[in-house]
């Protein structure tokens, strides 16, 4: 029996520190190897995938661990992205000036709520606090009223659609369908300078690693266990003395903030944020990476998002006319055959080796 316990013990050990080791490996790859190995353009693309990966890490927490199919993360991605873009737009316009598109499409006056975004500090605050507040209000209402499962998913998706539609309809305020682009500097750094582009990449990669560490910690905390408990038997959690709504709310808010950070970095790296980056299909593509990598695993969502981002670029380069089929097939194959994502395949192969080791030890003891 003790052998079994030991196996379980090592497994637990592996789960804990293996996660951190994985994060360290990824950090090594993203922060040291990639900058050395990739061209400016490819590195920029990788940076963009990192933005999605940051959002994906949050989705892993909310969906994989918490069972909330957050199909509307584009909304939070967009809040962060547009907040940052507004700041960048105002920087490009210069002090006292109005962003170019307002003069073109509107009467050249700026809505008052744009004004504070001239401040970088205010913008950074908004990027964190606004999605947190929106998620808290929305989540509070939704979770307290016990809206969940498919209702939650569909509602989220509808929110993403409504958000994108709202953006499209408010041309003078948000640039409408075109979105916001033509930025020149990022907190004073020229965005066209390759050195600064690399710096931007390093920032986003570091943020991704930081988010992974946070989720790693949350997963192994008691909160992480409670979250899984809530996912599996929400009502039962009440009889442990917790309000499951609060537990879900925390995960939802964390996921929202991460999506927002991803969006905020997306704007300067991609050079644009527009409704099509935040709408229903963009939100679904965020989920796709998480599903591919493994929703409930630590690194799965991030790696999956990187892979989907890369796959999108690579496949559409090689098969510009057929790659939608690949995209569709990806969803079908992964969800149908690998519900726990690629993360479930690798450890299974991996686990086959150490387990034999333990068994032998047990025999000799």
């Amino acid at each position: 029996m003790s052998g079994k316990q030991r196996t379980a013990g090592t497994a637990a050990l592996f789960r804990t520190w293996g996660g951190l080791a994985g994060i360290a490996l990824l950090a090594l790859a993203l922060l040291l190897v990639a900058p050395a190995a990739l061209s400016d353009f490819r590195l920029g693309n990788l940076g963009k995938y990192c933005c999605w990966a940051i959002a994906a890490v949050g989705i892993g927490l909310a969906w994989g661990r918490g069972g909330m199919l957050v199909l509307g993360q584009g909304v939070f991605f967009g809040l962060g992205g547009y907040a940052m873009a507004m700041h960048l737009k105002l920087s490009a316009a210069g002090p006292g000036n109005v962003p170019d598109f307002m003069a073109l499409y509107g009467d050249g006056t700026m809505p008052v709520w744009w004004e504070p975004f001239r401040s970088g500090a205010f913008t950074l605050l908004v990027i964190v606090l606004l999605p947190a507040a929106v998620a808290a209000v929305l989540g509070f209402a939704i979770f307290k009223r016990r809206v969940r499962g498919s209702y939650f998913a569909i509602l989220n998706q509808a929110l993403a659609v409504a958000f994108a539609t709202l953006l499209v309809a408010t041309i003078n305020e948000t640039g409408g369908f075109n979105g916001l682009n033509s930025f020149s500097t990022f907190f004073g750094y020229n965005l066209y300078d390759p050195v600064n582009k690399r710096m931007l990449y390093m920032i986003v990669a570091a943020l991704l690693i930081a988010c992974l560490v946070i989720v790693w910690h949350l997963n192994r905390s008691r909160f992480g266990e409670l979250l899984v408990a809530t996912r599996d038997a929400e009502e039962r959690v009440r009889f442990l003395g917790y309000d499951p709504a609060n537990i879900k709310l925390v995960a939802y808010v964390v996921a929202a903030i991460m999506a927002s950070i991803g969006g905020a970095m997306f704007a300067p790296i991609a050079g644009i944020i527009s409704p099509s980056d935040v709408g229903a299909s963009a939100s679904i593509m965020l989920i796709a990476g998480v599903a591919l990598g493994g929703r409930a695993s630590l690194l799965g969502p991030a790696l999956g998002a990187l892979a989907v981002g890369y796959g999108q670029s690579a496949l559409s380069e090689s098969f510009p006319n057929q790659w939608t089929y690949f995209q569709g097939a990806l969803f079908i194959v992964v969800i149908l055959f690998l519900p726990a994502g690629l993360a479930s395949v690798l450890p299974r192969l991996w686990a086959a080796i150490p387990q034999r080791g333990v068994a032998r030890k047990e025999g000799s003891a």
């Binding site: 490819r42 050249g108 309809a169 041309i171 682009n181 020149s184 004073g188 997306f266 099509s276």
Partner: protein, 394 residues
Amino acid sequence: GSKSSDGDVESASAGAASCVDTSGDTIKLGFLNSTSGAMAISEQTVRDSLLLAAEEINADGGILGKQIEPVEEDGASDPAVFAEKIGKLLTSDCVAAVFGGWTSASRKAMLPVVEGANGLLYYPVQYEGLEASKNIYYTGATTNQQIIPAMDFLASKGVKTLFLAGSDYVFPRTANKIIKQYAEELGIEIVGEEYVPLDSDDWSTQVAKIVAAKPDFVFNTINGSSNVGFIKAYYEQGLGPDSSPIISVSIAEEEAPAMGKDVTGQFAAWNYFQSVDSPDNAAFIKAFQAKYGADRPTSDPMEAAYTSLYLYKNTVEKAKSFDVEDVNDASDGVSFDAPEGTVTINGENHHIAKTGLIGQINSDNQFDVVWSSEEPIEPDPFLESYDWWDSSAE
């Protein structure tokens, strides 16, 4: 990172070194259109005519003796993807120029990238104007070559009341802003203005308002498949070319037969129709249909794309160089005997002079030209020569 004190973009872009390889006997050109997503409907046709033009030019000896090697990319109807892909084409594939884009959103997304990389983009679609970049050539109409001629046509028909119906995005909104100011100048009353999201089919409520307003004309700036819902509702509620005829700026030969209604008698404003009677157009149609099938119509954006590649060839050959600065220096006055007629590049704003045409749909879903601007209209993207225009008025 290196911090610039003034955030000057120009200085950085000027320094970007070109990686275009002109040493071989081929030259790479990027074709960037959406072959997936909602816009694939339209953009695929542009891709087709670009490939046709490349084939013809290659058969004719290429550009400066170099064979065109097209690098195709999918913009996926997503502005961010357009931004990424044009970056890839210019800095990774090192193409000499990129051809493509359709929606203004895609063009706006590509603009900073093409400027940053100091590359070239040839954009083939009519658009809302108010833009000029030294790195972009606009071979579709700007507003004074399509919207304003359409208004002139309406004025010539004695139209007194006009209803505006458009998709809810930048082009229709800006177009209508111009229309409203010019209408005031012309003494035409705007009796309604309605927008519907790009992907919406449901126009019934808005059309009811048209029925109520009984306008002399409807100015249609709806884009894409939303037109079908509009046209169906329009006819269902008893409207027709006899009561409140429509003038459209994005219904062309491809779209007209797809409406499911007999749209004979309705109007459209373009710079090219398949029905344009000229040897150059006959040759274009013949080549196009030989390559893609006799049932395939030609249309304005396709023609503008086809023309853009030839204009590029002519400019490069005049400059005797693929270098962006050389091309820009040589571009003024470069012309091409396009299917729509002879077009000439304006070196100042990088648009081209185009003839404004109004066509009326006949029973074959072709357009009979009923009005023409007589001569090519010089492009004026910022409407500087129109004193009724006040960009800051709402």
